[in-house]
């Protein structure tokens, strides 16, 4: 039995869903705030609410320590809330503390579903937050709070402070007399430029008895205006105005997006009215719905064939056709339900960029241009993982230190640009940097050391050289850092993309920067596959691995047995020839018109002998049934299954695993 009792266990899923939404919200708020080095009033409120909700949800789940930690954070932001207005010039220590809190919670959430879960210790974080709260509450207040403390009787009302707009304090020159009227005239002067205007004290025209106080302490004016600068100029240049100090500046809340444009509504955490518009739906239920929709398509195809065979053309073209169209709409709608905006990857990317820049003392501007483009949820998840690696690479390998950049005549701050475009059925995602670029000579030298060159150096094109960096274990870095040097990052990117049915393209210029372009399908992990048969069995291989088709008859003379394995002469070298009949112990004899497929993966190449081919098609390769376990693929070379239009099931093969198994010995030996 795990940490949670039966009641809490039932609520765990909902708790995790809510907590993830809250931490996502917190992450985005922190990134924005850190950029400005300030917390706006709305950001403080937002963080307060997050902590408040986390506190109570965690308490409900029996996570007492986590609840206490959230409570302490809530206290901290409650204190900030009471100060009124935002906080300018926030210390880095504060952001670091909040990020550590965020990381702690995310780590806890990752582990909570494990049976052996035990809550982590919050002691050190709690001490830090407590200390920080004690320190800040001892500091002198600033802005209006400071002014209010200095002159407790002369301060605008809390209602005025809560309203949006700019609050200025205007002081008049000593001895100017009739200060209340001067203030009144000043207000009249700017009134026409403002959509909203109020002052403290109010009713200045008749505030003669307060003239002395106004002379001593000035007046507070709150205004909202499209011509803010003009208003400030008019105020500061007013007659006998000695100073005009901005005490608070709260813009009315506007929807703004990391993409720099008005963002379209998105299915984010429900808040207020948007609870009516969006629902959180479990993705496995969407998967099930999609399966059912596809199944309906298959069944309707079968129905149409049977109607044809039975001469029921009128039904086929009538009701059956209508049903077919409706089912097509259902499938399309389900596909759309799974679409999520690519923009949602951005906070994660910004966070990783922030962390790596801090650790490596580099400065980078992150530009985002992704619009409203959406892709299937699983594709976005795959791409997100690949992009994290690319961002790390861009900073670690690409962007130089500020000093190096200055010496090279570049701006101290590097630039990384993330952009998304969509084409027909595909989305193109680009990560480009203006760093040092890839050194082709260095890559070639490293490839030579690793024994990767298969032809003379001079015959390699630029694209082929750059693609060498995708080879597993390839790195030109001398030392391993936390982020790179092990030669696994780009290899992972390539594999991740291929699993999503996508591709990676590299362009680079030494000294100027690199661009990595990911092209992935918009919809589910579909893959272009070459399909073929052996007896009653149907198979497929990813089309990107298949390079040539050969006739078995013609190539038979080039086949040899070497050390108990069959090889075939291909382009001047002996490559493994896998007879799928023998490999999988399928009964029957190879037909005369059999075909040989030459395929080349990332590491290995080989030929596969099959009975016949079908047309190449983009298919959905589904995972193997859970019953077969996680090792089935590794043990057999079978990577998945696809359902054909006829309802028949096709076995997807993993070329690399098959070739490895073949070299070791047949599956059944």
């Amino acid at each position: 039995m795990g940490y949670f009792d039966a009641d809490a266990q039932e609520m765990l899923e909902v708790y995790l869903l809510e907590a993830r939404q809250l931490t996502g919200q917190l992450n985005e708020t922190l990134l924005n705030a850190e950029k400005e080095n300030a917390f706006s009033e709305s950001e403080i409120h937002s963080i307060f609410r997050v902590m408040h909700t986390l506190k109570s949800s965690s308490a409900m789940m029996g996570l007492k320590d986590l609840s206490s930690l959230a409570h302490k954070m809530e206290d901290l932001f409650s204190y900030f809330r009471e100060q009124a207005g935002g906080i300018e010039g926030v210390q880095q220590e504060m952001f670091d503390l909040l990020y550590r809190f965020l990381d702690f919670i995310e780590d806890e959430m990752e582990r909570m579903s494990d049976e052996e879960y035990q809550p982590g210790s919050t002691e050190s974080l709690l001490d830090e937050v407590t200390k920080y709260l004690n320190d800040v509450s001892r500091e002198p207040a600033s802005g209006i709070a400071a002014a209010s403390q200095e002159e407790p009787q002369w301060a605008p009302s809390s209602e005025m402070l809560k309203r949006p707009g700019t609050i200025v304090r205007v002081r008049f020159a000593e001895g100017c007399r009739m200060e209340h009227l001067r203030a009144f005239m000043l207000i009249r002067q700017v009134k026409g430029m403002c959509t909203d205007l109020e002052s403290y004290p109010e009713d200045l025209e008749h505030a003669q008895d307060q003239a002395e106080e106004i002379g001593k302490h000035g007046i507070y004016i709150r205004f909202e205006s499209e011509q803010k600068e003009a208003v400030l100029t008019a105020l500061s240049q007013g007659l006998f105005v000695e100073s005009c100090e901005v005490m608070q500046d709260k813009a009315a809340q506007k929807e703004s997006s990391p993409c720099g444009k008005q963002k379209a509504p998105r299915p984010a955490a429900p808040q207020g009215n948007s609870e009516l518009e969006f629902l959180n739906v479990r993705s496995d239920r969407l998967d099930k719905l999609q399966n059912l929709a596809r199944e309906m398509i298959i069944q309707i195809m079968t129905l149409e064939i049977q109607l044809d065979e039975n001469g029921m053309k009128d039904i086929k073209e009538g009701a059956a056709h209508q049903i077919n169209r409706l089912i097509g709409d259902v499938e399309h709608t389900v596909m759309e339900m799974r679409m999520v905006p690519l923009e949602r990857i951005v906070p994660k990317l910004r966070r990783i960029l922030r962390d790596i820049c801090r650790d490596e003392n580099k400065e980078v501007d992150f530009e985002v241009s992704c619009g409203d483009i959406e892709a299937d949820k699983s594709v976005v998840e795959y791409v997100s993982e690949a992009l994290l690696h690319l961002i790390r690479n861009a900073v670690d390998h690409g962007i130089e230190s500020p000093q190096e950049r200055a010496a090279a005549g570049k701006a101290r701050k590097g630039k990384i640009k993330f952009s998304v475009e969509s084409t027909v059925g595909e989305v193109m995602i680009t990560i480009s940097d203006d760093g040092q670029g890839l050194d082709s000579d260095k890559i070639l030298a490293r490839a030579r050391d690793m024994g990767l060159l298969t032809k003379p150096q001079e015959e390699y094109t630029k694209s082929e050289i750059l693609n060498m960096i995708l080879h597993p274990g390839f790195t030109t870095k001398e030392e391993v850092t936390e982020y790179s040097g092990r030669g696994v990052g780009l290899d992972v990117v390539k594999n991740v993309l291929e699993n999503a049915g996508g591709n990676l393209y590299i362009d680079s210029e030494k000294g100027r920067g690199s661009t990595f372009t990911l092209v992935v399908p918009l919809t589910l992990a579909t893959m272009e596959c070459v399909r073929f048969r052996v007896e009653d069995y149907r198979f497929s291989l990813p089309a990107r691995y298949v390079h040539r088709f050969l006739e078995y008859r013609e190539n038979d003379p080039g086949v040899r047995e070497i050390n108990g394995r069959t090889y075939m002469l291909f382009e001047g070298r002996m490559v493994p020839l896998i007879d799928l009949r023998e490999f999988f112990h399928i009964e029957g004899t190879t037909p005369e018109d059999a075909t040989i497929i030459y395929a080349r993966g990332t590491e290995k190449e080989g030929c596969v002998l099959v009975d016949g081919l079908y047309e190449q098609k983009r298919i959905v390769v589904k995972q193997l049934p859970p019953l077969f376990g996680v090792d089935f693929r590794r043990k057999t070379g079978v990577s998945g299954m696809s359902i054909m239009g006829t309802g028949r099931i096709c076995t997807a093969l993993d070329l690399e695993i098959m070739l490895r198994l073949y070299e070791r010995g047949n599956v059944w030996e």
């Binding site: 929709a293 193997l624 019953l627 089935f632």
Partner: protein
């Protein structure tokens, strides 16, 4: 001895045996389900089928009746797993009110087809298969013994 809790069982006749399944694990009966061959499966698998868009492994009782009968795949679900069992002939329902449980010999379970109990109905012995155990044993097998080394 009579059965204490009276309930229904789903039964299918084989060539030599009659098998029964508890409804708690039966998901659906799928007549004339297309079964596709899949390599690398042990011999007691008939292949895999497409059940509502999901790939489900199908076991064969190897009790095919040689008279042409309709084939039916019974889909079972237990925990995260689904399996199909390929049967021939029409399944029928047996109410345990009219059956007698037979005391099984005290021997270790042999083979894949774990039996829950033996019952007698109208002079016939019916084997009630323990689908939950069969599924879990298969899952363990694929995790461990299958193609080990």
């Amino acid at each position: 001895m009579g059965i204490d809790n009276v309930y229904d069982l789903l039964c299918v006749k084989g060539a030599d045996k009659t098998f029964a399944f508890e409804f708690s694990v039966v998901k659906e009966l799928c007549p004339e389900m297309q079964i596709s061959k899949m390599p690398c499966l042990p011999s007691y698998f008939a292949g895999v089928c497409n059940y509502k868009g999901e790939i489900v492994p199908v076991l064969s009782l190897k009790e095919e009746v040689y008279i042409e009968k309709r084939k039916v795949v019974i889909i079972f679900a237990y925990q995260d797993y689904q399996i199909g069992i390929l049967c021939y002939g029409e399944p029928y329902i047996l109410n345990t009110q009219s059956v007698q449980e037979i005391q099984k010999p005290e021997t270790e379970a042999d083979g894949m087809w774990t039996e829950k109990k033996l019952i007698q109905h109208d002079g016939e012995i019916v084997t009630v298969l323990d689908i939950e155990k069969i599924i879990l044993n298969l899952a363990e097998y694929f995790k461990g013994e299958y193609l080990r080394g």
